[in-house]
Each structure stands twice: as structure tokens, then as C-alpha cells.
């Protein structure tokens, strides 16, 4: 079977193969430990990707780091490969059908970094698999107790919601917030000149209940959704920005969002795409769910 056939009809979950991009930065051990925790939790194969040839000493360091996380040698693999960093990592993920790529990332980008692009962000903009960005990796990783998922009005959202339910169940999360990000840029101008405040509020309330109803319909179709404590919120504002503000105030352990429809370019940074607001300043661990073969 070729790659396309293997990916056809494949859901974004379960995470059977988890990869982690490795550099020997001061935080590399913490990033590997985060990936190893997920690998154990999901019983997934772990792939450590290093771009550039590893010395024996470096390989030993990586092996020792993984093994301290109680992962046996047969359950992980180290791939060192030469090439340009971003395309090489993406290629390895593609060839190994990686379900989740874990990356350590800066919490905030400077203006220059935002436009030039750091490695983690560049991968997030182009990846064809789900990406987990960890701005603050812990030496003793914690479970994701509080999970937030963005339920923006998009064809990709049902799969992202299903992934959120899957992750929340696997993590035994205490709370799953399902947040409808609603953006109606013309609302004020459409209704401002000829309706009273009460009418506008009533229209907004109708709109919010309609949004919640749609999400409940989707949730009812997702297996395992009833076994977790879910809370629904409807927030108004620019998608990406409004969920970032929400996440900053709620401080969840994990935020899940849809992957972009296409690879993001410089135009999407000049006229910001939803995801760019999150990439510019990560409010917490961010899981960008790629809808794979769908």
C-alpha cells in the first residue's frame, strides 16, 4: 500500500506513532520526557527525529533520556538524517505516518521571528500531521487535566472535537471546555441603525443557542463524549485571537484547534490567519489537529 492509501479514511486519532523533534537545546530532555509520557499513555511508537548526523555520545544521551522514561528500546527509534530542518522533519513524519509530532516551542515570538519564522512555527504552518507545541516542557510532565477545544464553524471541527474527546478520555481530564468562536464582523453595522438593544441582544442569544445546539449534535455522535465533564462556551471575536484570550484567562493544560486548510505563507502573517494569533503568543500547550485523510 502506498502512503496515500494508508492515510485514506484515517482519523487524526488514536496516536499510534508519536514523533519528537530533537535538538540539543537546554530544554531537550524535558521535551523528550513530554513526548515519552504521551507515548506511554497512548501505547504509541516513539520516534526521535534529529536533523544532522548524531555522534555516538549524542545517541547515547538520547537513549539514556528515553530509557529513564521507562520506554524499552523496541518501542522507540532514533532517526538522524541530513538536510534542511523543516522539510526533513516533515518528510520523516510523512514516511513514518506520524500521528502526532511533539515540538518544544518558544512561548512568544519577537516581531522579527514572527515574520522570518522559527523552526517549530514553520513546521506548524506546513505540517500534514497533528502537531503538539509545548512552550513550557516539564522535567516531570503533568497530565492534561483541563482541556479546551475550539469549535469554530468549519468542516474540520467535528474531527477536532472527536480528537479532543479522545485526548480528554485518555488523560482522564477533569474538564473539557468546548468553545464556539463566533465571528460576525458585520453584526454591528447590519443591525446598529434600525433595532433596539433588546432586539440585538435577543438576536445574539438566538445565535448563541443555535451554535450550542450544533455542537451538542456533533458531540452526540462522538463515542466517549458522555464519559467526560464538558462545558460549553460561546465567545465572540476574531477566531484564533478570541480563543487565545479565553485560554489565557482559563489557563488550560491543553488547547486543541483545527489545522489550517492549506500551508500558511507570509500573506497569512501580514493579514493574520486564525492560527497565527496563537502561534504569535502560545497561551498553553497547543495541539493543532490535522484531519488526515478526511
Amino acid at each position: 500500500m502506498n502512503l496515500a492509501e494508508q492515510l485514506k479514511d484515517r482519523l487524526p486519532y488514536p496516536f499510534e506513532t508519536i514523533a519528537v523533534a530533537v535538538t540539543f537545546s537546554p530544554r531537550y530532555k524535558a521535551v523528550i520526557r513530554e513526548a515519552a509520557r504521551l507515548s506511554r499513555l497512548h501505547r504509541a511508537k516513539l520516534i526521535l527525529i534529529h536533523v544532522g548526523e548524531l555522534t555516538e555520545a549524542q545517541t547515547a544521551k538520547l537513549e539514556s533520556c528515553v530509557e529513564t522514561c521507562h520506554i524499552k528500546k523496541k518501542y522507540y527509534q532514533i532517526i538522524d538524517i541530513a538536510g534542511a530542518v523543516v522539510p526533513t522533519i516533515l518528510q520523516v513524519c510523512k514516511e513514518n505516518i506520524v500521528d502526532l509530532l511533539v515540538l518544544g516551542a518558544l512561548k512568544k515570538e519577537t516581531v522579527l521571528q514572527h515574520y522570518v519564522g522559527t523552526i517549530a512555527r514553520k513546521i506548524s504552518r506546513k505540517a500534514k500531521c497533528s502537531i503538539l507545541l509545548i512552550p513550557d516542557p516539564k522535567k516531570r510532565p503533568l497530565t492534561f487535566d483541563k482541556v479546551v477545544v475550539s469549535a469554530i464553524d468549519s468542516a474540520k471541527t467535528p474531527l477536532t472535537l472527536a480528537t479532543a474527546v479522545y485526548v480528554a478520555n485518555m488523560e482522564d481530564a477533569q474538564e473539557l471546555f468546548i468553545v464556539n468562536e463566533e465571528y460576525i464582523p458585520m453584526f454591528q453595522s447590519a443591525y446598529a441603525d434600525c433595532t433596539t438593544d433588546e432586539e440585538i441582544e435577543s438576536k445574539k442569544a438566538d445565535y448563541m443557542s443555535e451554535c450550542k445546539r450544533k455542537v451538542v449534535e456533533v458531540l452526540n455522535e462522538i463515542p466517549g463524549a458522555s464519559s467526560i465533564s464538558t462545558k460549553q462556551r460561546v465567545i465572540f471575536g476574531k477566531p484564533g485571537h478570541s480563543i487565545q484570550v479565553f485560554a489565557k484567562s482559563k489557563q488550560p493544560d491543553l488547547l486543541l484547534v483545527n489545522s489550517p486548510k492549506k500551508s500558511l505563507g507570509i500573506l497569512d502573517r501580514l493579514f493574520p490567519h486564525d492560527l497565527e494569533y496563537l502561534l504569535e503568543d502560545l497561551p498553553c500547550n497547543l495541539l493543532i489537529v490535522h484531519s488526515r485523510g478526511f
Binding site: M186, S189, A192, D193, C194, H241, P272, H273
Partner: protein
Amino acid sequence: MVKLGHHDMIVFLLGLGSILIIARLFAELFKQFKLPSVLGEIVAGVILGPSVLGFFWPESFEYLFPFIAHPEFTSTIPVQYAMDAMINISVIMLLFVAGMEVQLPLVIEQGKVALSTTFFSMLIPIAVGYLGVQLVPDLFMVTNRDVAIVGFFIGVVLSITALPVIARILMDMKLFKTRIGMTIIASAMLIDLLGWLIFSVILSVIEQGEEQTSLTYTMTAILVFGVFMLTIGSRLIDKSLPWVQTKFSWPGGVLALSFGLCFLGAAFTESIGIHSILGAFIVGIAFGDSANLRDRTREIIHQFVTNVFAPIFFVSIGLYVNFVDNFNFPLIAVLLILAYSSKILGAHVGARIGGLNKVDSWAVGVAMNTHGVLEIILGSLAMAAGLINEEVFVAIVVLVVVSIITSAPMLKRIVNK
């Protein structure tokens, strides 16, 4: 310093007060019939102006608006200046608010279908408008020298879609978030931007005539200004807004910043030979694009402009133009035929090429043929620049009214099929 005299102040304030109160009454009346308040405001102007009040009760008209009834009297000149300044400020603010509705990321997200719909729903109406004026120049009362430019202008008027009007129709019909809805909104936004750019170039050409160097300088300057404001400028505004909204008194701080930037942008474009409205419009886009602009702030700016400044402009249309004398039925009929055929067909073709199915493409075509406030502003500015006469302007206003009344029922008919 030249000041308005005691009597001038009374005349000015009397006129302004009457305009605002009568406009509100008519706006509320039109609301009862589910029509946009702007139509009520235009009708208020027609009733207060030479068409009705000036015709049936000329003494009352002269008492309320002596500066309109007798513009030739030197004693009315200071009030004429004051009123002209008020109307200009109103138009600048209206364009600023119109710019705030344009969301370029939304246009980019819609991609091919929005671009294709925009392209054809501008190209075909502009071509039809241009050819229409070439074929019947007498009907549009243009001299041979102006035929091309008037044709181009009429084409631009036919190509523009009224964003707030169609947004409301789509929201009421629960179509706003659908693919049809997003295509219409994204295309209408892009058309707004391109339409104003083209119109500003037309005005610039009229004012600068054959001066090629000056025109090249103007075009380069506006391009640099536009690119700067829509990229770096909008990011700077976005970054400064959280600080302004928390450190300054609210909403005073952000209102001062927004209108201050609006007037500076308007002053800049005016100084480079492009009408001030384009500067206000571009600053509006940069400002409205900010994710940090609170919904409440947006609402306050909108309320302030639509309820105080917009009525001054829309009532003034009826005050200065005699709608009865300038009602030219053949011209109106031709304009309506050109508008309906070209815009519906153009948007339909664009949406179809962009990937929508046949029914959805007709829905996009019909919805895009909704004209509104911006066409009236375009018309009044063109009339002030001497590009069109009052009869053509009245025909544009009638086109706007008819399209607003007909677009919702037509769209419902197609969608319910």
C-alpha cells in the same frame, strides 16, 4: 479669525437640529416597514428640501435653510462653508466606518471563489456601464470629452455591493455562515476596496487632467500609503489598542485615536491629490482589522457615526437636489436594466467559475446586486466634481432604493427553490 456671526450661528444650528430630528423620525418610520434607516433619511431630505417643502411652502424652506434657498446671497456664505465642512466630515466618517467592515483575512480565506466572484462582478458591470454610456451618451447628458470617464464611473457604481445591507439579509435568512454567505461577504468587501480605489483614481484624473507626472506621483503615493497602512500600520494599531483601551479613559481614548487617525489619513490622501475619503477608508480597514478592537468600541463608533453624522449627509442629498425636477424615467429605467443584468450575470459567472453550483451561483448573483450607501456617496462626490448631473444622481439613488427593496425577496425565491 473669521467667525460665524450671531445670526449665522442661529441659522446653522436651526438647520442642523431640524435635519437630525426629522431624519430620526423618518428613519424610525422606515424601520416599521423593515427598510434601512438610510432610506428614511434620504426621504427626510427630499421632504425638507426644494422638492417638497421648497415647492409647497417656500417661505418655510427659506427660513430653515436660507443658505440653500439663496446660495447667491453673500450673507449666507459663512453658513454655506460651515455646512459644507459638516457634510464633508460626515462623508469622511462614513467611509471610515465602511472601511472598518472590510476584513482582508476573510477575503484571503475564501480564496479562489471570492477572487473570481469579485473579478467578474466588477468586470462585467464596468464593461456594461461603459458601453451603456457610449451607446446613449445623451441620456447620461455627457459631453464627448467625458464619455469614457463617465462610462467608467457608471460601471464602478453598478459594480459595488452594499455590504451592511446584504449582511443583514444573509443573517436574517441564516445564510451568513454558509459558503454562499461567506463568498458574498468576502467579494463585497474586496469590491468595496477596489471600487473606492478606482473611483479615487477617476476623481484624481478629472482634477489633474493631462498632467502625467502628477498622476504618476499620486498613484505611487497612494500605493505606498495603502500597502503601509494595511500591513505595518494595521499591526501598529493592533498592538497599541490594548494599551490605549486599558490605560486611557474608555471609550474616550479609543474614540479620539480612531477619529484622529481617520482625519490624518484623510488629510494625507487629500494632500497627494486623491480625495480625502480614500484615506479615511484605508485607515478604517487598518483599524477595523484589529483583533484587539473591542466589540463594544466598534459598536460605539458605529452608533456615533450612523446616528449623528450619516443623517447629516443623507438628508443633505435631498436638501440640495430637487428629486421631482430631476426625475428622468427613461434614464432610471436604463440604469436599472444595466445594473440588474450586468451585476447578477457577472457575480453568477464569477461564482460558477469559482466552484459554486448553478443555484448557489444565481443566489450569489442576486445578492451581490444590492446597492447602498456607498453608491450614493460615490454619486454625490461625482456630482460635486461635475462628472454627472443631478438627473444621473437621482437615477443612482432610485437604483439603490429599488435594489434594497428587491434583493431580499429575489434571494429568498432562489434559495427556497
